[in-house]
Amino acid sequence: MNSNTENHKNPKKRHKELLGMDVPKDYFKLSKSNIMEKISIPEKKKPSVFYLKPVFRYAIAASVIVLIALGIALKYNNTTPDFSQTQQIENLASADDQDLLINSLFISDENINTFLDTYLVNSVMEKAELEEQEFDNIFLNSIFEKDSLIDSYIDKSFIDNIII
């Protein structure tokens, strides 16, 4: 089997004789006209899809970063103590025992535990201060009192102070 230069001089003949492949009459002339007609039509530019543009991608990336930063900032703000509210709780908790129930109405549910804790701490601290004052008084008074009296006086307060 030898291929020869006649192949591309008359490929139509060769393909028909060996492979039985044929073309319509004047096909290549018509095809040429069709092609020339088609190339004269300007190429339609495909509409660019916005979400494929680089600008859109950058915008998305920037938005994601902003959202993350916002999330972190909000989380940070939630964890920092609200000083004004803390001060309010302290003030209300420091009030008289009689006003405790009324004052608790001004405290929100989520802060009620804080309010009670603050009240308890304040009460204990107040008591401790009073006891301390008494302690000081004991020593001052001891200058003028007998030892026996001091012993009985000290026992109760001293033990109380230890417990507190």
Binding site: M1, S3, N4, T5, N7, H8, P11, K12, R14, H15, K16, L18, L19, G20, M21, D22, V23, P24, Y27, F28, S31, K32, N34, I35, M36, K38, I39, E43
Partner: protein
């Protein structure tokens, strides 16, 4: 003294460079394109036809090929000859058409699996007798996809192994080996 082959090659290169220059210039582009059509239209058609089998498919692919050539001349970098560049476009268009028709799943040479004989016998422009059908049967069933491509390109399209290597992006020696295997198989089968 240069051999005649080298001289011919040199002349061909000069002619090609001149042609490309005309093709890229707006005033002479259309004239150059008409000349291109006259020279390569039929060759490209038969090349495509043997891949897609039917005349209708070949016509579609051929038109798409030339439109693509016309519109993408600027993308020709000169890494290969202009003709092999065109053949590569034609090859890709043929594959693309078959893929679109869902007759194959992958776009590589090795995965070409057209419904060869079925399409051939149903084609209005197939005028083959039993002998021709036998040759087709041998090409379709006895040769591998690569052997079939190489045989068609060498025997019917008269492309050199170098040109084939550029079009198919395959090693020249591999192509030679495929071709000689194909011719041996066909000779043996035809004699039987």
């Amino acid at each position: 003294m240069l051999s005649s082959n080298l001289i011919l090659k040199y002349i061909a290169l000069i002619a090609e460079a001149n042609f490309i220059q005309q093709f890229t210039h707006p005033k002479t582009k259309e004239k150059a394109f008409l000349k291109l059509l006259d020279t390569y239209q039929e060759r490209l058609y038969w090349y495509i036809r043997k891949i897609v089998i039917t005349h209708e498919n070949a016509d579609d692919a051929l038109q798409n090929t030339f439109i693509r050539i016309y519109r993408n001349i600027d993308s020709f970098k000169g890494n290969s000859s202009f003709s092999t560049w065109m053949f590569r476009i034609a090859h890709n268009e043929a594959i693309r058409l078959l893929q679109k028709q869902k007759k194959m799943h992958l776009a590589s040479l090795e995965d070409i699996q057209p419904q060869y004989l079925e399409d051939l016998t149903q084609d209005n422009y197939f005028d083959g007798d039993e002998v021709k059908l036998k040759l087709h049967r041998i090409i379709e069933s006895k040769l591998t996809n690569k052997q079939r491509m190489v045989f068609n390109m060498k025997y019917f399209d008269d492309l050199s192994f170098r040109e084939m290597s550029e079009i198919l992006e395959m090693n020249e020696n591999t192509l030679k080996s495929s071709y000689y295997s194909a011719t041996k198989i066909i000779e043996e089968e035809i004699i039987m």
